[in-house]
């Protein structure tokens, strides 16, 4: 008899638990969607600017890129060698 009670309680906890998890995450989905829309409405510009900035450096000629790489690696090398001492 007591076993049956335990079983029932387990079943109740299972239903309640899954229910709460789903309800909570559903609320979270709705609020995240709303929040994203709000943020998108009030602050659409920075995102666009960001992507614009990111795409522009890629059009730099590769020769200049190589030069920059060389300078950077030289600087890193010098920094590391001084640190080691």
């Amino acid at each position: 008899m007591q076993d049956l009670e335990l079983l029932q309680e387990g079943l109740a906890l299972m239903a309640l638990g899954m229910g709460v998890v789903f309800v909570f995450l559903t609320v979270l989905v709705i609020s995240v969607t709303l929040m994203s829309k709000l943020v998108g409405r009030f602050q659409p510009a920075p995102v666009a600017v960001d992507t614009g900035k990111k795409s522009s450096p890629s059009s730099v000629p590769s020769a200049q890129n190589d030069e920059v790489m060389a300078v950077i690696s030289a600087a890193v090398h010098r920094y590391r060698s001084t640190r080691r001492r």
Binding site: L4, G10, G17, V20, V21, L25, T26, L28, V29
Partner: protein, 440 residues
Amino acid sequence: MDKLVTLWEGSGLYNLELGQAAMIMVGLLLLYLAIYKKFEPLLLVPIGFGGILANIPEAGLAISALDQAIEVAKPAVLQQIAAALGATLDPLANAEAWRESLKVIAHDGVAPDQVRAARDIAVGVGYSDGMLYNFYKVAIGSGIAPLIIFMGVGAMTDFGPLLANPRTLFLGAAAQFGIFATLFGAVALTSMGVMDFSLNQAAAIGIIGGADGPTSIYVSSVLAPELLGAIAVAAYAYMALVPLIQPPIMRLLTTDKERQIKMTQLRPVSKLEKIVFPLMLLILVALFLPDAAPLLGMFCFGNLMRECGVVERLSDTAQNALINIVTIILGLSVGSKLMAESFLAFETLGILGLGIVAFGIGTAAGVLMAKLMNLVSKMPINPLIGAAGVSAVPMAARVANKVGLESNPHNFLLMHAMGPNVAGVIGSAVAAGVMIKYLG
């Protein structure tokens, strides 16, 4: 000659019990798995080593001053302790029998103030709490260590993929079915008379299916501290086994065509959204589920430190130095629960068995939920990412990615799988909150 005998009787070899020897072997096995098989080495090395320390005979590293006194003190002290506990000792029996009966009395149905008085006697005659016992009391008994680890996990988590595709939260929710199905399984086993678990213990076992180490430790420290050792070992061992457990289930439940589904590119997520998200989650927890507040509160705090960008130093500490320090102490504390009396029981086998079932059911539920969502939504969802809904960050997401690549070498699911993956962390913390609320 007498001195030699005393020395011999004080040696570990003389006092070694079979159970302790077996547990030292278990500790060595954990170390082997960690070092040679790379099973969650960051945790299993401290846990395995702590397990060995806890089972050193006579040293009593993992027991309280009172237990230690009961185990080794002179008969006169035993009588004092018995008086403090309000028990009478059979004057005809020998000291060994007294120790046995006192051990039972001290852990069962004695008023807390009597235990405290007995403890004072033990401390008074020069016994002190074992080192690992202190670690356990500070790190896990108070609940601090798992929460700090959760803060570090928050500081390491990028919610970008989740914010870009919030519906993946449903996958994280579905995968929590593993937790509750296992809870029910443990209860069913009890009612069939195979095992003997209380509802609290069943809940603590179920949480292994959340595939989240700190959450498992936190929940079992609240609901069933006596099973903590076995639960933590099972949780971490199975997390390491995710790449072996999940793929067969994922392949079984999906067709090759479904595995090849390509998902649309995730949109970029602005910084403001990432900052607002942890705060919003915190407010929702405060409103609906205060019992999940310790876990999710620390998680949100860690994530806010990461995303707000003005406390780099704190965020860096939370996800590196601090989490490492706490992991050491947490591991040793869990090891202290690997004492022969509590670990070498039939129940431990049950926990290990149910734990793997929990993982399997969680994976299956996540995959099936993804298939269901595919039926109703326009945006295609690859069912494989549903399996990442069991937390195990980032291992489960990597597994989803790998299985996806097997079907289509150009289909990278990793970023898509990170969404349900972190949703699983939130989901299992919510599930933990519900269970603590219901049973705590």
